[in-house]
Amino acid sequence: MSILSEAQAKAILDKVIALSTADEVSAQVGGGITGNVRFARNDISTSGIVDEAELAVQVAFGKRIGTATINQFDDASLERVMRRAEDLAKLAPENPEFMPAVAKQTYRATDTFSEATAALTAEARAKIAEASILPCRERNLVAAGFLEDGQTFFAHANSNGNFGYQRSTVADYTCTVRTEDGRGSGWVASNVKDVAQFDAANDIQIAMRKAAASADARALEPGKYTVILEPAAASGLISFMMNFFDARSADEGRSFLSKQGGGNKIGEQIMDPRVNIYTDPWDPTVPTLPWDGDGLPRERTKIIDAGKVANLQYSRYWANKQGKPETAGWGNTIMEGGTKSTAELIAGTERGILVTRTWYIRMVDPQTVLLTGLTRDGTFYIENGQLMYPIKNFRFNESPVIMLNNIEELGRSVRVEDGSIMVPPMKVRDFTFTSLSDAV
């Protein structure tokens, strides 16, 4: 039941919308089958399968909104979920910022589904765990990791006749390898739409090499350093920053994108001219659903264009209030890069620090997007194009805005994190490390 076909999903949505007595109704049905396996101390620790689907209904009486969801699809359940949503709407006060449901839209499908990923079995998951654990057992290393994969469907409709349906897949793998004495630690991650692009036996070698090579780390003085941030390390800061591209906050004067004296920084140069960031639902590497939460169709949109702010995200309410066109919320982030790999960036570096990943990143000051966090699982000193020795982890206090003004070189952009962002490895000068960490 949980993977509904387009026809099945549409039948349910049509039926539930017809049950409404409200002024308007929007409904969504989504679900999927997700499997996981978790391992630690070179043993499987937990694994499971979750198979579920859920129907959500939002109704409006005037400017009063109610929302209810249910995970049964018989006629009585559809009736019940609609009555619950209507009851809640009648209890809610009017919301002056209420926006009516979107009109009928046209969507161009994005390529978010892989048959190979959808076909992954519990046995295949166990083999991936085994491919991670066994080489570590043989080399006196200790693996802890997690694989989660799933196929999902999502459909939405409203009383204006709008409708969309699409299926997606994702497989997300992370593994930390530590030396038995706890003095070395390495990490690898892979997030793919299609499991054919993922090879645990190959990936685990990266984490194993970094674990072995990171023992006997030396302490460097905190300070400003040229760093090479691997894509996962850079993404930690950049994806955090992308949460603050909201037009309303900027216009209200409470964002790093607010302009002194009022208004926002659209059109202003805030980063190095080599920085180009955009969103594109059809990107083949990080495809995303072709609509946003309101049902507006997503478009390819420039966010940072040659270091200038090109666009901010407008809610429908704020767009109308500011006299801007209604545009869909962004579904992915793509930062353009160059052609070099991380290894090639290292080879061209006289002195610097390689950072495998960044960790526990938190906002220190929203005025400047000053973030703090730490390096983790493989930090190395570079001299004359070579990794010379492992160094102790650092705490950083750095703003991604300042970081993207201090670019020396960008490498080839790759898919990282949850599969919704592409970031290049990057060489950055004057990256601010403020203290040492003894953590391995």
């Binding site: 070179n42 929302t67 209890l91 004067g253 400047t368 003894d438 953590a439």
Partner: protein, 544 residues
């Protein structure tokens, strides 16, 4: 880690977010007060226990859960959303062939839970293939049919929505009238109705309640381009609607008028103070970096305790089960055996799953273990960890400490932090007495930015409000303060702790851990505490 902050939460439920799958299905307000019949839960549990045993499981536990939440979300003079959610289902965990297996279903029929039990058993048997050592469970006596309820005075779920809307609108009005540019306020109510049964012979029915009332006030000066926010000084609590009474006896007032709260919160009063503080922050001087003696309010220190004591003393982290996500711990078992000095002689840190009003208080944990209080750090020395049943033998214990928790019927239970608290000082001392003894210091209240490494050595904390202390007197508010610390040195610099009359609880509503990630709620009590010679940095930057 706090994975979700107030901002993220507001965004999630504001406007168009139609799929609150994370929090379960939404239901009408009047249905929040019903419960599943006890006989139905027992019948489902027995069906699962029997099916697992028949399929070859040597142990089985069943959790039949109904998880209710209510959110009222506002900004300025608007109610942005009211959301009621309900999630009901059954999780079955088994040991078969020495390995764990887990499966869950939202179908509330005996056939469905029996099928889940068989699926869990099959998964356990599949996992056993590469398992190197069989799971060992510390014995836990079956307790028969028992029940426990959070000792609330007034069920917040039963308070009419109109009353909640009126409260938040009055709070926002007060903030705006006091000069706030913007204000967000929220009510977040939780009721976990949990039924646990196991092959040990326990049938435990629990009704757990929690409440949180966060607010954020922002002041903007467009002429300078500066903006500053001041969070509310409430704490999420394991209490009912009585927490919102604002009782005078639960207020703690400093000589400069700063008011913090104990088991009762005056949200409107705090909103007015927040509006005034946010405006003061716009003009407050920036801190001069250097070494300071810090005087930390309990509603600030709680987060430092959480990160630098609660997490590193979770035994699953110590053993490496969280190595790929939350991390491991510097507080390894050899340190406990060698009597490692975690802090100064006056530092006594204890775990307690029974504290009234705390977020972590329950009668029994999610594997049927009766809860208790125990010492973690005694007179400055590391003495113990937090364990669950399959870890106890590793640290030489013959029983679990009762730290097992799952955030849903559909999540597998695992080790989560107990309420971990700093015992109050034994000699009489008020915050005013403490401040009087500080020559060059900073007073910090409320939570701010927080970050700590994966072994819990190196941490950096901000706060909500900061006041200079000079020659024993509280001075003006200062800004851009964060302190950096290394855990054992920080606790070693603890030089004074106020007495029991100043003891209050901080709370973390969304502590994240595990893969797939789960949240849990936990409190941390302390009295106002002094730490000497702590490194303070200035966090002001310029974007040019």
């Amino acid at each position: 880690m706090d994975r979700r902050d107030f901002l993220a939460l507001s965004t999630f439920f504001t406007g168009v977010a139609l799929t609150p799958a994370l929090f379960g299905k939404a239901i009408a307000a009047d249905q929040l007060q019903n419960d599943i019949e006890l006989a139905v839960k027992k019948r489902l549990a027995d069906a699962a226990l029997a099916a697992a045993t028949a399929a070859g499981a040597s142990y089985c536990d069943v959790r039949v859960g109904r998880y209710l939440r209510q959110f009222v979300i506002t900004r300025e003079r608007n109610v942005e959303n009211i959301v009621n959610t309900e999630s009901t289902g059954t999780g079955v965990r088994v040991i078969a062939d020495g390995s764990w297996g887990f499966a869950a279903t939202n179908e509330m029929t005996e056939d469905a839970v029996a099928a889940a039990a068989r699926q869990a058993t099959a998964i356990a048997k599949a996992n056993a293939r590469i398992q190197t050592a069989p799971i060992q469970l510390a014995p836990t006596p079956g307790v028969g049919e028992v029940s426990w309820r959070t000792p609330i005075k007034k069920n917040a779920m039963e308070v009419p929505i109109a009353d909640k809307v009126d409260l938040l609108m009055s709070v926002n009005d007060a903030a705006l009238n006091a000069g706030a540019s913007f204000v967000n306020s929220l009510l977040f109510l939780v009721n976990e109705q949990k039924y646990f049964a196991s092959t040990d012979g326990s049938y435990i029915d629990q009704d757990v309640h929690r409440i949180w009332a966060p607010l954020t006030v922002t002041a903007v000066d467009q002429s300078t381009g500066k903006f500053r926010s001041r969070e509310g000084l409430s704490a999420p609590m394991g209490l009912g609607w009585e927490y919102m009474d604002g009782a005078a006896e639960d207020k703690f007032v400093l000589s400069n008028g700063l008011t913090t709260y104990g088991k009762s919160y005056d949200m409107k009063e705090d909103a007015i103070a927040a509006a005034q503080d946010a405006q003061t922050k716009l003009k407050a001087p920036s801190v001069k970096p250097g070494k300071y003696d810090l005087v930390l309010d309990p509603n600030h220190l709680g987060l430092t305790i959480h990160e630098s004591v609660g997490h590193p003393l979770e035994l699953d982290r110590v053993l490496g089960y969280e190595a790929n996500y939350a991390g491991t711990s510097f507080a390894t078992m050899d340190k406990r055996d060698e009597g490692f000095k975690y802090g100064s002689e006056i530092v006594n840190l204890f775990a307690d799953k029974t504290q009234t009003g705390s977020l972590g208080a329950v009668g029994y944990d999610d594997e049927g273990v009766k809860t208790k209080r125990w010492d973690l750090v005694k007179d400055g020395t590391l003495v113990d960890y937090q364990t669950i049943r399959d870890q106890a033998h590793i640290v030489g214990k013959d029983a679990s400490d009762g730290c097992c928790y799952a955030d849903s019927w559909s999540s597998v239970q695992f080790q989560r932090m107990a309420n971990v608290s700093l015992a109050p000082g034994k000699t009489k001392m008020s915050p005013a007495d403490m401040i009087a003894g500080v020559e060059n210091g900073i007073y910090i209240a409320g939570r701010g930015s927080f970050s700590i490494d994966q072994q819990r050595y190196n941490a950096q904390f901000g706060g909500t409000v900061f006041y200079e202390i000079k020659n024993g007197k509280l001075g003006p508010m200062i800004e851009d303060v964060a302190y950096q610390m290394r855990t054992p040195e920080f606790w070693g610099a603890c030089s004074a702790i106020c007495d029991e009359s100043d003891y209050r609880m901080f709370g973390s509503f969304f502590d994240g851990k595990g893969q797939p990630s789960q949240v849990s709620a936990v409190s941390h009590g302390s009295s106002t505490t002094r730490f000497d010679g702590i490194n303070v940095i200035n966090t002001a930057r310029s974007l040019g």
